[in-house]
Symmetry: C2
Subunit: 227 residues, 2 copies
DNA sequence: GTATGTGAAACGCTTCACAGCA
DNA sequence: TGCTGTGAAGCGTTTCACATAC
């Protein structure tokens, strides 16, 4: 691993630790051990320690990790010291659900605009935002300094919209469209596809209780408890 | 790897191949090479071939893979030869979006029931289903032979509902609640959390255009085309 | 005593390179 | 010739085990 590089597998777990810490802080817990964190996140203590060690040494031997201090370190590592503006494209059923989801602010993001192509939706008030036409996209991205966009539109329009977002300056796209997006090297796309998730579950159910096996995403399978 | 075991990383990609094949079939394409598949899925040809080889040898050297034949093999491997019944718990914004998502039937699933705890929602007609009270859960799971459930409820209720689902006989849970679920060994949970996804994106945007780096989930970064 | 931080071993996944077959 | 199928090498991640520090 190159100096200062945090492994991808670790990066994908940092948000998990952060969430556990936020909940612990709200519950008035001041210190957590790697074992506590592991239990709450469905992992093992060694992995937690190794992951956190990439951020530097922020624990106290014999004691554990200071909840507030570590939460701050994680927020910093994730680039969340202040809320990041997010643009939401597509105000259908899913888009509305995302716009109404309250957990954003609490976790470092702020939806600053809703955009849709349908004339009957434009101008509507959704979750405190007026839906804007696609023509406003570039101006909005520039004005708000938007780097992250969420795509909740049909697959057929996803590639075109992604290209427009990239041209406008967006560098990270979270796409719910069940299709693959071709983007330049410097742009990161993450795709969430419900049917894909269900199919992965279907495999393991169908294949029988395979003892090991757990692909990429968050999988719980044993003791893990919300704090 | 144990005999007959398909690696978890491969399992997570099988739905992707299946989707590409379905779209190719609809476009009238009869044969695809590993390179074609790789391009459409944002992967490389060697990975595609190795992945598909775990299912057996279904390609033709010098030619490629028969689209229909391979799609059938993949469906079989994923346990999707006939539609799997799915139970949806939680009919809020997100639950409605999921219930209304049309892509299910086409990809091997059938929502057979909606359940919610709120009295004002129970009895409503949503996406062609009457919302049932939680008390109907066990009967519905038994009657329809449901093995897969989707949780779209607040984090605070997720663990309790998961336990009830497991007790009723559900073996796979797709959870949208931003909390970890403790389940028995034989139950598989996959978690989808929007804020987590955004935070991972935030890391890479913040950390600058890291050349390598791409954690677990579907990441596109080069040539990939919707068919 | 207790829990972190970390080299080193073990493991799994990806990529390479080419043999095998149409 | 062209593309699949696959051992083997390479690489990243996980786990182990213990020195280190409170």
């Amino acid at each position: 691993m190159r100096e200062g590089q945090i492994p991808g597998a670790t990066v994908a777990r940092l948000p998990v630790y952060l969430q556990v810490l936020i909940e612990a802080a709200e519950a008035g817990i001041g210190v957590l051990s790697s074992d506590d964190l592991a239990r709450a996140a469905g992992l093992n203590a060694a992995k937690v320690r190794k992951d956190l060690s990439y951020l530097g040494s922020h624990g106290t031997r014999g004691v554990g990790y200071d909840v507030d201090g570590l939460a701050h370190q994680l927020s910093r590592a994730l680039g969340l010291v202040e809320d990041r503006p997010v643009l939401l494209i597509g105000v259908g059923n899913l888009g509305r659900a995302l716009a109404s989801y309250g957990g954003f602010e609490r976790r470092g993001f702020r939806i600053v605009g809703l955009i849709d192509a349908a004339p009957e939706v434009i101008g509507q008030e959704v979750a405190g935002h007026q839906v804007l036409p696609v023509s406003e996209l570039e101006a909005l991205v520039a004005a708000e300094g938007i780097g992250v966009a969420v795509l909740a539109i049909p697959a057929a329009h996803a590639q075109g919209m992604a290209e427009r977002l990239v041209a406008a300056g967006v560098r990270s796209i979270l796409s719910f469209a069940p299709t693959y997006l071709s983007v330049p090297e410097h742009v990161t796309v993450r795709r969430v596809d419900l049917a894909t998730e269900l199919q992965i579950l279907s495999f393991y159910e169908h294949a029988g209780p395979r003892l090991p096996a757990a692909p990429s995403r968050h999988r719980t399978g044993s003791t893990a408890r919300p704090v």
